[in-house]
Amino acid sequence: MIKNIFQTEWLKVKHYRAFWVLLSITAISFPGVNAIAYFAFKNAAEGPSQGGQLMKMLLGNPFAFPQTFHTTAYLSSFFAFIPAVVVIMLITNEFQFKTHRQNIIDGWQKSTFIWGKFIGVLFITLLVTIFYVAVASTLGFIATKEINGAVLDEKANFIPLFSLQLFSQLSVAFLLGLLIRKAFIAYGIFIFYTFIVENILVGIFKLKAKTLGYDYGHFLPFEISDRLIPVPPAIGKFNEVDYKMAMASIEQHVYYSLILTILVWFMAFYIYKKRDL
């Protein structure tokens, strides 16, 4: 059954140029943003200024093993919106061209259709994680002077954290596409919410944390998983207290993210089952 679902979803995207173009943009953006940051750091650190030397001494090299997994995950996560656009495109296309109806008419159960999209989101997560690991490892090998096995996997826990963050955020994007159904409205809401609304809400909740007794901004749909990858230590050193708290709360946010993701998919299955197509 799973093989048939994967095979069918593969047939849908195999020759879909827009899908591969957007994934290629993701693949280019990851090394792009990390390379920009790497060269900026290298120029500053290797420059003649005393500030650069001091920075190098204090921060170490954030792109060397084992920090590269953390730094690269943090920088790459800013580009998670590109695969999210791919996910929204895949689901809204089905509504725009009514192909989801035809899938049911041809013999899929409604749940099979959602499983197909679940597998699709998982597949995109896997591909993008591979891009991330490739970039992190490449920069790590370039930036690390002496490589030994012990440091190679020291911060490799950021690989599953990056995957979970991405899968959770892509799942929320999928649910948005499923609810809105119209591609451009869904893109608009997604971009507006993730880049503006949620950041404002996070700020408001932070300010109101004392009044409310807790910083409820942690529980906003994207913030929940954003907190899986706190700022890298190179930046965190400027505010050690917050950095330590952020690192300590990762485990908590793993559970929150898992709960949110399960809830999102449960809602997707339920809504699609109950809805007239």
């Binding site: 296309n93 035809q102 049911i104 041809d106 013999g107």
Partner: protein, 296 residues
């Protein structure tokens, strides 16, 4: 045996009742036409039996069994509009249909593309097709794997006269080879030419159903012509006549079904001194019946 049984199905969209206690039985091997004006509930009916819509009340059975997704895999369906991936070619789209339904093979894809005259454009994207070509590809998808039951909603939509004639012949051929075809259509002439059973819907209610001949011939009509002006007067006295209308073709005399014979009427006129110059039994056309039933 009924391939499809619909039992007391109702469906509302808000305050609008799209289907009201609809019951239908589609015999195996029949070409079953579902007729009705716009908004009568034809597509809603087909959407419910294909599990795209959920009925508010009532039930339906496929092949005498409670419907599941496995039944839908055995049915070739075209609902409302051709629903295919615009960025894929005909062949790539049909591969998806094969993968989901389990019907057909690579060889079958090429067979149906030839059947619907899309062989030359099989590697072109669906988005580049004309409306008629899209419709033909959707019919091709329904024919994959040679399913024994086909559900076709307005199958001739967007087709040119040649395409319409081809689909008519295709449906006739399918019927001859034992397939059951359930088709909704506005084209009464088409339905009359290919269907042997018909259901007529109006505002979600079933107003007539059964074999086409039975639905059409609730009364019979004889057209009579004679040089003698006394013909109308004479026929008024004929037993079982229900009404008469003077038409350009002649005097149309209506009788209850089974109550008239052309030979008896001819003998009656002759015995009363009127020689008929023309006598024909006129079959009521589906179009007439449709308007008779669906008009207020």
């Amino acid at each position: 045996m009924s391939v499809l049984s619909i039992n007391h199905i109702s469906k509302s969209y808000g305050k609008i009742k799209a289907l009201d206690d609809l019951s239908l039985h589609v015999p195996e091997g029949s070409v079953f036409g579902i007729l009705g004006p716009n908004g009568s509930g034809k597509t809603t009916t087909l959407s419910i039996i294909l599990d795209v819509l959920q009925a508010d009340q009532g039930s339906y059975n496929w092949f005498g069994e409670t419907p599941t997704y496995l039944h839908r895999r055995r049915i070739g369906s075209l609902l409302e509009t051709p629903n295919l991936y615009h960025y894929l070619t005909a062949v790539q789209n049909l591969r998806i249909t094969c993968s989901i339904s389990g019907r057909g093979s690579e060889a079958d894809i090429h067979r149906v593309l030839k059947m619907v005259n899309l062989d030359e454009r099989k590697n072109h994207r669906f988005s580049t097709y004309s409306l008629g070509m899209k419709q033909r590809l959707a019919i091709g998808a329904a024919l994959l794997g040679d399913p024994k039951v086909l559900v076709l909603d307005e199958p001739t939509n967007g087709l040119d006269p040649v395409g319409i004639a081809e689909i008519r012949e295709l449906v006739k051929d399918l019927a001859k080879s034992g397939h059951t075809v359930i088709m909704a259509s506005h084209l009464l002439d088409e339905v009359e030419k290919v269907c042997d059973h018909v259901a007529i819907l109006k505002r979600g209610k079933l107003i007539a159903s059964g074999a086409v001949d039975a639905v059409l011939s609730d009364e019979e009509c004889l057209i009579l012509n004679a040089a003698d002006n006394q013909l109308i007067e004479l026929m008024q006295g004929y037993k079982d006549i229900s009404r008469m209308v003077d038409t350009p073709e002649g005097i149309a005399c209506f009788f209850d079904k089974g109550k008239v014979s052309a030979a008896d009427v001819n003998a009656y006129c002759f015995n009363n001194g009127i020689v008929l110059s023309h006598i024909t039994m006129k079959k009521k056309r589906l179009e007439e019946k449709f308007f008779e039933l669906t008009n207020e």
